[in-house]
């Protein structure tokens, strides 16, 4: 979505998330999630954090984002945080 088209939308219908403001569709978002998974699997955790932080900011209501953050926490040895993010993921999926 461009700035101009955003401005032309009725106020009540304007974006709920930054992802929507940016006009990112499901396939594109899924590709970015897949990239984050690949970074995690490859041990590139710092890069994964940057990507996941961006994706969480784009769409905090996407359960997959929090599932990956949960994975990250488990890899970092933070089970309590991992459990919270797992719960968040389930809540967003409900």
């Amino acid at each position: 979505m461009t700035f101009a088209s955003y401005q032309n939308r009725p106020v009540a219908n304007r974006g709920m998330t930054i992802r929507e403001l940016r006009g990112i569709n499901d396939d594109e978002f899924a590709a970015a999630l897949s990239a984050a998974q690949k970074l995690l699997d490859g041990g590139a955790e710092e890069a994964a954090v940057d990507v996941l932080a961006g994706l969480a900011m784009y769409d905090p209501f996407c359960p997959e984002v929090w599932r990956l953050v949960e994975q990250l926490c488990r890899r970092r040895g933070e089970p309590e945080a991992a459990n919270l993010f797992a719960g968040l993921s389930r809540a967003m999926a409900a």
Partner: protein, 196 residues
């Protein structure tokens, strides 16, 4: 929103036309291409909310229309987990979680009409820390600001925090830049002849 991930074909030796990588390219192009900057888009969004704030009745109507029932349930769940995460000191303990939580706080800005000022406070404090994920004290200040502004929930507070919110928008753009930078690196590596 549920999003199922496509086959993970980054770095795959067998994928000749990787659909996931193509989509990732589209994702990056859409963000870093010729479209308006995130700062411009979010500034416009925030200005809408500032205008709505000129009338409390108008603001309430705006939020009622904007936040659907299902979305409201998710918001309530989000707030519950946000409180649980922020109260347990993860921000101060772990740099990587500080970054994730910072992103989450910024994400809530365009979601609710009154949240811009709240989230802006966090963004400003995080930005003020110099490097996200490093300053314990700054994060504690940010957390305190969130609590204070959430308690206020007033139009006046929203107006008073315009500058702070704009700083929050700046922090949002920084998160986006970091994400896109990492994804571009992935794409470049995949297209590098030496790495094929």
């Amino acid at each position: 929103m549920n999003v199922s991930m496509p086959p993970n074909d980054f770095g795959s030796a067998t994928a000749s036309v990787p659909s996931g990588a193509t989509m990732l390219g589209d994702f990056v192009d859409k963000i870093s291409g010729g479209q308006d900057s995130l700062t411009a888009i979010l500034s416009a969004s925030f200005q809408d909310q500032s205008l709505a704030a000129s009338s409390e009745r108008q603001l309430i109507r705006f939020q009622r229309v904007k936040v659907r029932r299902q979305h409201q349930r998710r918001m309530e769940a989000m707030k519950k987990y946000w409180e649980a995460l922020s109260k347990r000191g993860f921000w101060s303990k772990l740099g990587f979680l500080g970054k994730i939580l910072g992103a989450l706080s910024l994400a809530l800005a365009p979601v609710t009409g009154g949240a811009s000022a709240v989230v802006g406070g966090v963004g400003a404090a995080v930005t003020g820390a110099g490097s996200i994920g490093e300053s314990v004290v700054k994060r504690q200040i940010a957390s305190a600001q969130v609590d204070k502004m959430m308690a206020q929930q007033s139009i006046d507070a929203g107006k008073a925090k315009i500058d702070t919110t704009l700083e929050g928008i700046s922090a949002t753009a920084e998160y986006e830049k970091n994400m896109v930078g990492r994804l571009q690196e992935m794409i470049e590596k995949q297209h590098s002849p030496t790495l094929r």
